[in-house]
């Protein structure tokens, strides 16, 4: 029987097909819809959606709202996750993987179920309906915390202890060692974590809808409304493009695209 040989190019075909079908074509479609308008049943090229977005106070305030919620949620996640990841990674506990697992475990439960449960809990303590912003932020933090812990833990766990010893040997006290060596060297994990939390908290409208009784609208919700409620694919696509652009900008800003990174230290988990 003759053996079948695949060249590298041939082996790449399934991936290329997948990419074309589920990434390139949808992207092109979104682009197409974003810069067109349907006038009298005819589709024509148009900048109207773009102009509309940046002149509509309602849409801009939604953007601002999403931004604020995302920034606050990310900051809180970072503040909670860093100490946890640090303690777990630097401790000599033999069972630290089990402890880490406890923080990751909620991810295994269905997300809608978790949020619904949280809603009931907030209702029970009387926050539901009265503290919409707080509730949404609690929900976002609760939901995305594991995504912050994991990359931070991976980075800190692989951090060579001799760097910290060297810093303390050269006269650094515990605080200096942390601010001058530990934290800078854990930056890849921080950036990775921020990216993992910031983006979803701008769009995850299940959280905002459920926990604010539909009182808070974020960008993701807006897109959904245009596609489903208003049946305006053009505006929906435009907002998607703008969101995509924001993501791109933030990646550029956080160094996600930086070339020749010295050491990624396993933080690029995703």
């Amino acid at each position: 029987m003759e053996k079948i040989h695949f060249s590298r190019k041939q082996l790449g075909i399934p991936y290329a097909l997948f990419l074309a079908l589920f990434v390139v074509i949808p992207m092109l479609l979104i682009l197409f819809y974003a810069f067109t308008a349907t006038v009298d049943g005819k589709i024509t090229f148009s900048f109207a959606n773009f102009l509309n977005f940046f002149t509509s106070t309602a849409k801009l305030s939604t953007l601002l709202m999403s931004f604020t919620i995302a920034i606050i949620s990310t900051a809180i996640c970072l503040l909670i996750a860093y100490p946890i990841a640090y303690i777990l990674a630097r401790s000599r506990l033999k069972k630290k993987n089990v402890l880490l697992m406890l923080f990751i475990l909620p991810m295994w439960i269905n997300f809608v179920l978790r949020i619904t449960a949280l809603r009931e809990l907030l209702d029970l303590i009387g926050l539901l309906g009265s503290q919409n912003y707080l509730n949404v932020i609690i929900g976002m933090v609760y939901d995305f915390l594991p995504f912050m812990i994991l990359p931070l833990y991976t980075t800190l766990e692989k951090l060579d202890n001799s760097y910290l010893e060297a810093a303390s040997d050269l006269g650094g006290n515990k605080l200096t060692v942390f601010t001058k060596v530990t934290f800078p060297l854990s930056m890849p994990g921080v950036v990775s974590g921020i990216t993992m939390v910031f983006m979803p908290s701008m769009t995850n409208y299940v959280v905002s809808d459920t926990l604010s009784n539909f009182n808070i609208t974020i960008l993701g919700k807006l897109i959904d409304e245009y596609f489903t409620t208003y049946d305006n694919w053009h505006m929906g696509s435009m907002i998607s493009i703008i969101l995509l652009f924001i993501i791109f900008l933030s990646m550029l800003f956080s160094g996600g695209f930086k070339e020749n990174k010295q050491e990624t230290r396993g933080a690029n988990l995703w």
Binding site: D160, E165, A167, S168, L170, G172, L185, Q262
Partner: protein, 503 residues
């Protein structure tokens, strides 16, 4: 070593033990380091040398014991409070800083006392940070010391191993520590680079005049660079001394073996200043108790080759290796191997004589607690050693194994092994050997060559005729010298271990 005055001690380690979980990495170690000396901790990996260094640096805290710095107890002081800097094994240069910032790291944190005079003419002291200019100056000087002028702006990843090593040294010495600790700093460099750096480090030590504490497993490095060497093994100090004294007068067989090349042979003192090994009596300069079992160390360069008829020992050459300056000749004498270094060559197969001067025979007390032999397993799963054959339990070689009906060994994971001719190490306790006057009863036969009364028991040495193998045993029974006896050992008292894994 001469007695030293107390004020000369910069570091003193007092009865320090360091436990990791349940194992002792360093066990009850005591020594001191003199101000300004180049001291080296030498030993194989896992001997506790790095742990000792880390305790001086402050990275590890002793479980028990004290560390004194110029007489002050610093046992529990954190690393940043000690006037000590470390050059790490893998350099540990901060990857997010350039060379300048790496070297300036310590300087930027440093606060020095500055004396001022106020309006009333009183002087007062304030702790101040170094100015930018001072830091620049010091970094520049440190880079000059390590020959890396102009490297300030380079990033760590663009440097070669040797250059990173130099930066690591510069980063440590720029802080002007009282003691510089170096943890196998040359381990990652190639041979040529290592030799160069050895000379440079020694030169740096001379120029800076500070105390260097150096850790290495390379005996040649230790001999080349140090003023004092501390030889360690299994968390304990084996010997402290100058390179010359450690090389010429090793304290025990381990030191002799570890430092330089040596022939280590089993010998017996047969009289004052006379030792017997390789079936020959040698005059020597050490005085030990008569009939004491000793380790005899002879350096390969101390054996002189002669004609067969003139030699104290006669052996057959089995290998000749050219080593550049000398030849390394291995000869078999009886059952022992002798390594000889000589500028003259011989051919493989030559029968040569060997002469060893009394001065060159180093005799060390044998810590005699157990009989050790080289043995092998027979077809019948018995073990042959000491000119005799004994029953033994071969399943102890592999935990969880058992024998099948045909006598093959089945290991815990079901593998079937034929142990015939497997080389093993055999150990038998002194009290586990019995002697009998029925020559057929025991596994080996010989004459009692020595008996020493040890208060509550006698210690006998039974020597076999064929290869002069000795059985040392303790028993309360009385026998006479020259009795012809057989040696009995119960199978469970014969401890066997594999020389190497069976392929």
């Amino acid at each position: 070593m001469a007695e030293l005055k107390k004020e000369e001690k910069i570091i003193e380690i007092v009865n320090v033990t360091k436990m990791f979980d349940d194992t002792a990495a360093v066990e009850d170690v005591s020594f001191y380091v003199r101000k300004g000396e180049f001291i080296t901790f030498l030993g194989p990996s896992g001997c506790g040398k790095t742990t000792t260094l880390r305790m001086i640096a402050g990275f590890d805290i002793p479980t028990t014991g004290k560390i004194l710095l110029s007489g002050k107890d610093i046992t529990n002081l954190p690393p940043n409070k000690r006037p000590v800097n470390t050059v790490f094994q893998r350099y540990a240069l901060f990857p997010h800083y350039n060379i300048y910032d790496n070297i300036a790291f310590g300087l930027k944190l440093k606060k020095i006392p500055v004396t001022y005079v106020n309006d009333k003419g009183e002087t007062y002291t304030k702790y101040q940070k170094l100015t930018r200019k001072e830091i620049d100056e010091k970094v520049k000087n440190a880079l000059a010391v390590v020959d890396l002028e102009g490297f300030e702006k380079r990033s760590v990843s663009t440097l070669s191993g040797g250059q990173q090593q130099r930066v690591a040294i510069a980063r440590a010495i720029v802080n002007e520590p009282e003691i510089l600790l170096l943890d196998e700093p040359l381990g990652a460099l190639d041979l040529k680079m290592r030799k160069e750096m050895q000379i440079e480090l020694k030169e740096m030590h001379r120029k800076l005049g500070i105390t260097f504490i150096y850790v290495t497993h390379d005996q040649e490095e230790a001999l080349t660079m140090s003023d004092t060497i501390v030889v360690m093994k299994d968390g304990k100090i084996q010997q402290i001394g100058t390179p010359t004294s450690i090389y010429n007068e090793p304290a025990n067989a381990f030191v002799a073996d570890f430092i330089g090349d040596s022939n280590i042979l089993n010998g017996t003192m047969i009289d004052k200043y006379t030792v017997r090994f390789c079936n020959h009596n040698f005059k020597c300069v050490d005085d030990f108790e008569k009939n004491e079992k000793v380790d005899v160390v002879v350096r390969p360069e101390d054996i002189k080759m002669s004609d067969k008829k003139d030699g104290m020992l006669v052996g057959k050459v089995v290998s000749v290796v050219f080593k550049g300056v000398h030849y390394e000749i291995t000869a078999i004498v009886g059952r022992s191997e002798m390594v000889i270094q000589s500028t003259q060559s011989r051919n493989v197969g030559d029968v040569i004589g060997m002469i060893i001067e009394p001065d060159d025979i180093h005799i060390m007390k044998k810590a005699f607690t157990v009989n050790k032999y080289d043995g092998y397993i027979t077809k019948k799963n018995t073990v042959v050693f000491g000119d005799g054959e004994f029953d033994c339990d071969v399943t102890t070689l592999y935990p969880g194994s058992h024998l099948d009906e045909e006598g093959y060994l089945i290991t815990a994971n079901g593998e079937k092994l034929d142990l015939t001719d497997t080389d093993v190490n055999v150990e038998v306790d002194l009290t586990a050997i019995e002697i009998s006057d029925n020559a057929e009863e025991g596994g080996a036969r010989g004459h009692i060559v020595s008996l020493i009364y040890k208060g509550d028991h006698y210690q006998y040495i039974v020597r076999t005729e064929e290869n002069e193998e000795d059985f040392v045993l303790d028993t309360e029974d009385l026998w006479n010298e020259n009795d012809y006896v057989s040696v009995k050992i119960k199978p469970e008292n014969i401890r066997i271990s594999l020389k190497q894994e069976i392929k």
